[in-house]
C-alpha cells in the first residue's frame, strides 16, 4: 500500500478535516510526547535529588564504602558496596536458575510441546508474569527459608540463596516469553532442512534453532536480568536484610557467601524510604541508590533493545 502512487493517506489528505480531527490528532501526539517527557522527568528528578549526596560524599565513597549505617547519629556510614554486591549476588543466583530453565521451557513451547500442553503452559507463564511479588516473598519466608536452613544446616534460611530461588520465579516469565518469540521466529525451512539432513529433534534444536534464535535469547537474558535486579518485595522478605558484607574468606580471599544474609539496593530503598527525613543526606543517598538501579536497568534494556532491533531487521531482510 505504501509504495503505490495513490495511497489511502494521499486520497484522504485532500478531504476537509473536521475540527474533531484536528483536536484528536493534537491530543494523541501530545500523549505520545508525554511518554518521552515522563522518562526525562524521572531521570532528571532522580539525578537532581541524588546530586547533593554525590557532592557531599562523592560517588567513590558510596560505591566502594563497606559500611552502610546512614541512621547512626554520630558516625553515619554511606558505603553501598555491600548492597550492590548483594544485588549482584542475588541476581546472578536467580539467573543461574532461571536462564537454563527459561530457555528450556521456551524451546519446549516452541518445538516440542503438543498444542494441548502449549495451551496449558501459556496461561501459566502469563499468571506468573502478573503474580504478586509479595506473595512469592511470603512463600519464600514461610516455606523455602526453613527448608534451606535445614538442608544446609544454617541457623537462618533468610539468605542470598533463598532470595535467588524466589527471584528466579519472578524472572522466568520474562525470559520465557522473549526467548519463545525468538524461537518461534526461526523459519520453518531451517528445521525442515535439518530434518532432511537426518538430524534428530534435539540436534535440530541444539544446532539449528537455538543458534538462529541466539540474539533474541541474549535479549531475553538481559531483560530477565533487569527484572531480577529491580525486584523488591521478594528479596526484602526472603534475604534477611543484613547490611554486612556478604563474603566469607576462602583460601584467604573473600568470596561471595550465598548462605549469608544480604540486603539488596531495592530492599534498602523500601526499608528506609519511609523513615528517612526528607532532604537529609540519607534521603539524597537513597536517590543515589535509585539512580544506580536506574542506570543498571536502563543499560541492559537499551542493549537488549538494540539486539532485538538488529534481530528484527535481519528477519525482515531474509
Amino acid at each position: 500500500m505504501g509504495k503505490s502512487p495513490i495511497t489511502v493517506e494521499a486520497a484522504i489528505r485532500g478531504r476537509r478535516a473536521t475540527a474533531a480531527d484536528a483536536v484528536a490528532r493534537t491530543l494523541f501526539a501530545a500523549c505520545g510526547l508525554l511518554t518521552v517527557a515522563v522518562l526525562l522527568l524521572i531521570i532528571g528528578f532522580m539525578v537532581y535529588q541524588a546530586l547533593p549526596a554525590l557532592q557531599e560524599l562523592g560517588i567513590g565513597q558510596i560505591l566502594t564504602g563497606t559500611r552502610w549505617n546512614p541512621g547512626s547519629p554520630l558516625r553515619p556510614g554511606y558505603g553501598a558496596w555491600p548492597l550492590l554486591l548483594s544485588t549482584l549476588m542475588v541476581t546472578a543466583g536467580a539467573l543461574m536458575i532461571a536462564v537454563p530453565w527459561g530457555i528450556a521451557v521456551a524451546a519446549y513451547l516452541g518445538d516440542v510441546a503438543k498444542p494441548r500442553w502449549r495451551e496449558l503452559l501459556k496461561p501459566v507463564v502469563e499468571i506468573l508474569a502478573i503474580f504478586p511479588s509479595v506473595v512469592l516473598g511470603f512463600i519464600a519466608l514461610i516455606i523455602i527459608a526453613p527448608l534451606i536452613a535445614r538442608v544446609f544446616g544454617v541457623s537462618s534460611g533468610l539468605n542470598a540463596l533463598t532470595g535467588s530461588l524466589a527471584l528466579a520465579i519472578m524472572a522466568l516469565p520474562t525470559i520465557i516469553s522473549v526467548s519463545e518469540d525468538a524461537i518461534t521466529a526461526v523459519s520453518r525451512d531451517y528445521r525442515e532442512a535439518a530434518y532432511a539432513l537426518g538430524a534428530t529433534k534435539w540436534q535440530t534444536i541444539r544446532h539449528v534453532v537455538l543458534p538462529a534464535a541466539l540474539s533474541g535469547i541474549v535479549a531475553a537474558v538481559m531483560l530477565g536480568f533487569g527484572r531480577a535486579v529491580g525486584e523488591t518485595m521478594t528479596v526484602l522478605m526472603a534475604t534477611g536484610n543484613s547490611v554486612t558484607l556478604p563474603t566469607t574468606p576462602w583460601l584467604g580471599i573473600p568470596v561471595p557467601d550465598f548462605l549469608a544474609s544480604v540486603r539488596t539496593l531495592t530492599a534498602t530503598i523500601a526499608a528506609e524510604g519511609l523513615e528517612v527525613p526528607w532532604g537529609s543526606v540519607h534521603w539524597h543517598t537513597l536517590f543515589v541508590l535509585g539512580v544506580i538501579l536506574f542506570v543498571l536497568t536502563f543499560a541492559v534494556n537499551l542493549v537488549a533493545d538494540l539486539v532485538l532491533a538488529r534481530y528484527r531487521s535481519e528477519e525482515e531482510g531474509s
Binding site: R16, L121, S133, V134, E192, A196
Partner: protein, 311 residues
C-alpha cells in the same frame, strides 16, 4: 534399509508430507542416549514450571482457606490486627487500582493510537518507542522513590491514594500502550479503507471502525495491567499505603490500606508475627484469588473475542 526412489516420486511430495516422512525416517533410527535425555529434560522443564505454580497456589489455598470467612472479607482489623478482617485493604486496593487505570488507560490508548494511526516512521517515533520500552524496564521501587520524592514530598500531595495512583499509573502506562498497540495493529487495513471510501475522515474512521474492533484487545491488556497494579507493593509502600487505618479512606488525599502491603506487614512487621500468621495466609489467598480471577476474565474475554472475530 533405504529404498531407492525414482525422481518422479519426489515431485508428488508436498512439503508437509516431506516433513512427515522425515519424521518417520527419524523414528526408525535408534534414538541416541543424549536425544532421550535432552528431550526428557525439555519436557521436565515445562512440567516443573506448571508444578511450581501449582505448588505455590496449593500452599496458599491450604494455608489461607482456614482464615477465609464472610467476617474476614467484610470486617476491619481489630485488636492490633490480631483479629478481624481485611475489608479496608480490599477497599484500598480497589480504589488505588481504579485510580491507576483511570489515569493510565486513556493516556495509554491515546499514545497507542498516535503510534499506530498517526506517527510516521522517523526519529520521533523511535524516541517514543525507546522511552516506552525503557519505562517498562524501570524497577517498581524506583517508581516508588520517584513518587515519594515528586508527588508526596515536592508536590505536597502527601502519602495518599492520589500519589499512589499517579505513581502506579506511570508504571502501568507502557504495559497499556503495548497491549493497545497490538490490538490496534490487528485491525485489518481494509476496515479503515472501507470507512474512508464512505467519506469518513481519519478521526471518524478511528472512532467508529478501528477503536470498536480493537476494544476487546485493549480491554484484556488493561485488565492484565490492573491485575499487576493491584499486586504491586513497592511503589505504594512509599507513596500512600498505611500500616493500619481504623476507617476507610474518605478522600483521594487519605492514606489507605492495601492487600499486598497488609500481607507484608502481617508477615514481617507485626509485633506478633506468629499469632497473625493465619491472617497473613488469608490475605495472601485473597490477593492471589483476585489476580487469578482477573486473569480468568482475560482468558474468557479472549475466547469470546476469538469466537466472534469477523476477520
Amino acid at each position: 534399509m533405504a529404498v531407492p526412489q525414482t525422481p518422479g516420486r519426489v515431485s508428488k511430495f508436498d512439503r508437509a508430507e516431506a516433513t512427515k516422512t522425515a519424521w518417520q525416517a527419524d523414528r526408525t533410527h535408534r534414538p541416541r542416549y543424549s536425544e532421550i535425555v535432552a528431550m526428557a529434560l525439555l519436557r521436565l522443564s515445562g512440567i516443573a514450571l506448571l508444578a511450581a505454580l501449582a505448588c505455590i497456589v496449593a500452599w496458599i489455598v491450604r494455608g489461607g482457606s482456614g482464615a477465609i470467612s464472610w467476617e474476614f472479607l467484610t470486617q476491619v482489623p481489630r485488636r492490633g490486627m490480631t483479629e478481624g478482617g481485611v475489608w479496608p485493604a480490599i477497599v484500598g486496593t480497589t480504589y488505588v487500582s481504579l485510580g491507576t487505570i483511570f489515569i493510565s488507560v486513556p493516556m495509554g490508548i491515546a499514545t497507542a493510537i498516535y503510534l499506530v494511526e498517526y506517527a510516521k516512521p522517523g526519529a520521533l517515533t523511535r524516541v517514543i518507542r525507546l522511552s516506552l520500552r525503557n519505562l517498562s524496564g524501570v524497577p517498581s521501587i524506583v517508581y516508588g522513590l520517584f513518587g515519594l520524592g515528586l508527588f508526596v514530598a515536592a508536590m505536597r500531595l502527601g502519602s495518599s491514594i492520589l500519589a499512589a495512583s499517579l505513581t502506579l499509573s506511570l508504571m502501568t502506562l507502557p504495559w497499556i500502550v503495548t497491549a493497545s498497540e497490538e490490538a490496534l495493529r490487528s485491525v485489518p487495513a481494509s476496515f479503515r479503507e472501507g470507512a474512508y471510501a464512505l467519506g469518513a475522515t481519519k478521526w471518524q474512521a478511528i472512532r467508529y471502525q478501528v477503536l470498536p474492533s480493537a476494544l476487546p484487545g485493549i480491554a484484556t491488556g488493561s485488565i492484565l495491567g490492573l491485575a499487576r497494579a493491584a499486586g504491586e507493593t513497592a511503589p505504594i509502600l512509599l507513596t500512600g499505603a498505611a500500616f493500619f487505618l481504623p476507617h476507610l479512606p474518605r478522600s483521594i488525599f487519605d492514606q489507605f490500606m492495601a492487600l499486598p502491603y497488609h500481607l507484608y506487614v502481617l508477615a514481617t512487621q507485626h509485633h506478633a508475627v506468629t499469632t497473625v500468621r493465619p491472617l497473613a495466609w488469608g490475605t495472601a489467598l485473597v490477593l492471589v484469588a483476585l489476580v487469578l480471577i482477573l486473569n480468568g476474565v482475560v482468558i474468557a474475554l479472549r475466547a469470546r473475542a476469538r469466537a466472534r472475530k469477523l476477520w
